[in-house]
């Protein structure tokens, strides 16, 4: 505990912690909608795409990786949403192709055009997140805070429409809601959240931040509003606890946060089965 307090006295650790908690907040807000709309697979696929995009940025030696990663991920998000719509086996397989393909190309590019001496180290941290929170750059933290505020703000303003579109798209459309716009918005925000979360937990673990808090809350609560709020609280708590633990016992940040989420999910499931 003392060690944690000592770490927290460094401003940068505090900022990083704040960035992590805010990222978790955004992912969890969006996660509820994605899980309920049966779109969680999109989160998973997108994280693979984001890895590929990251590799392209690295090979082109673009210092601000976001410029490449964000638009590419957004485009794929929109494509996936359109495909996922006419679901069925084909759409599913197309998605698998896209995400595995993006990963393979990414890894291949990094190996053919090595940008540093330690390729496997780079790849590992892109996939599973920084080994230490201290390796986050200050630019990452600032971007993360701005994006988180934006995503949360948009979510609150659109809350009622997002609910209507999530619960019953046909009804919403018949009432005159521009459902295509909201689906597009959800896809674009998902891309933003995935790219943000990648800094924290790495490409492979981002979908954990999206699905776990949502699923945990759905075990506990029956109203949409309560599920959203509890999902946000669970996600932020898990991020705070996970990051703090990773500092103290020096474990990889992403994996620790995800494991904390797994424990919370198990606890919520247990509470539900006791209630019933």
């Amino acid at each position: 505990m003392n060690e944690l307090v000592q770490y927290l006295s460094y401003p940068f650790v505090r900022y990083a912690l704040a960035a992590g908690v805010l990222t978790a907040l955004c992912s969890s807000l969006l996660g509820v909608t994605l899980v309920l709309k049966r779109y969680s697979f999109i989160g998973d696929g997108l994280s693979h795409v984001a890895f590929g995009a990251m590799a392209i940025a690295a090979v082109l030696s673009i210092s601000e990786e976001m410029i490449v990663v964000l638009p590419l991920t957004m485009i794929c998000a929109v494509l996936m949403l359109k495909k996922g719509r006419n679901a069925g086996v084909k759409g599913d397989a197309a998605l698998a192709m896209l995400s595995v393909g993006a990963m393979a190309i990414g890894y291949l590019l990094l190996n053919i055009f090595p940008t540093s001496a330690n390729i496997s180290g780079d790849v590992c941290s892109t996939l599973f997140g920084s080994t230490s929170i201290l390796t986050l750059s200050s630019a990452d933290v600032v971007t993360c805070v701005i994006m988180s505020v934006l995503v949360t703000g948009i979510f609150i303003i659109m809350y009622n429409r997002i609910f209507a579109v999530t619960f019953d798209e046909d009804f919403a459309k018949a009432s005159g809601v521009n459902t295509e716009f909201y689906n597009l918005l959800i896809a674009v925000i998902t891309a933003v959240v995935i790219v943000l979360a990648m800094n924290l937990v790495g490409a492979l673990l981002t979908s954990a931040l999206i699905v776990f808090p949502a699923l945990s809350s759905m075990r506990l609560f029956d109203s949409f509003r309560k599920v959203i709020i509890s999902s946000a609280v669970i996600a932020m708590t898990a991020a705070f606890v996970g990051i703090s633990m990773s500092i103290v016992i020096s474990t990889p940040v992403g994996a620790t946060v995800v494991v904390v989420n797994i424990f919370i999910f198990a606890a919520c499931s247990a509470i539900r089965s006791v209630k019933k």
Binding site: L36, R38, F163, A164, D168, D170, S223, F224
Partner: protein, 226 residues
């Protein structure tokens, strides 16, 4: 006359589902849409609700716009089965486009939702979880939501499918009551007996043809067929 269809063709991008649909619906009509599965009943309702565009022909609404006047009750989706939402949240979402452009519901929206729940006898369920309700209660919730959106026309896609006979008959009473209050009701059903009991007019899909007749005509035509 409230809704008019002339030589309407409905369908999707990959082709028409039903063609040459003609009917005129007056205010306060109770119209049953009957016919075989896949004959285009749902496609027509979706077209009336504005979810898909007519492929050909004419569809006009008088004295109301589709957005303002129509309350739509679609068939159940898989998503709704375990959806965590309270009854009040769902009913209120019927007002989603009537918030006066603002992002949040105002007092009037909440009052309307309250009234509609009362009308359908579900105000005591307001804080209950939708996913834990019985099939009949769930349909009432969705009907209350449709009422929040509707000024004068209800489009109901098999509102009693999957309900037990008692719940179905309660649902029919509800809809009858709404019709008595002046709502135009257009309802898809497989239940020809209830059509003969409640409907004013019947739109029948058979093969790739449709006919629009009064209940009396439909009954005598059926008699002749037997």
């Amino acid at each position: 006359m409230q809704i008019q269809c002339k030589n309407l063709t409905v369908g999707y991008e990959d082709g028409p589902v039903a063609e040459k649909i003609n009917f005129e619906i007056e205010e306060g009509d109770y119209v049953y849409v009957v016919g075989d599965n896949g004959s285009g009943k749902t496609t027509l309702l979706k077209t009336l609700a504005g979810l898909i565009k007519p492929l050909d022909g004419l569809l006009t609404y008088e004295n109301t716009t589709k957005e303002a006047g129509v309350g739509y009750l679609p068939q159940h989706t898989q998503i709704q089965k375990d959806f965590p939402a309270s009854v009040a949240e769902i009913v209120l979402s019927g007002r989603v486009r009537k918030t006066g452009g603002g992002p949040f519901y105002n007092a009037e929206d909440k009052k309307t939702a309250q009234e509609k729940m009362k009308k359908l006898g579900i105000e005591n369920l307001a804080s209950k979880a939708y996913r834990n309700l019985s099939g009949g209660q769930q349909q009432r919730v969705l009907l209350a939501r449709a009422l929040c959106a509707a000024e004068s026309i209800l489009l109901l896609d098999e509102p009693v499918s999957g309900l037990d006979p008692a719940a179905a008959s309660e649902m029919y009473d509800c809809i009858r009551q709404l019709n008595d209050d002046g709502m135009t009701v257009i309802m898809i059903s497989h239940d020809v007996d209830s059509a003969l009991e409640y409907a004013d007019k019947i739109l029948e899909f058979r093969g790739n043809r449709t006919r629009f007749v009064s209940k009396e005509l439909y009954r005598s035509a059926r008699g002749n067929m037997k």
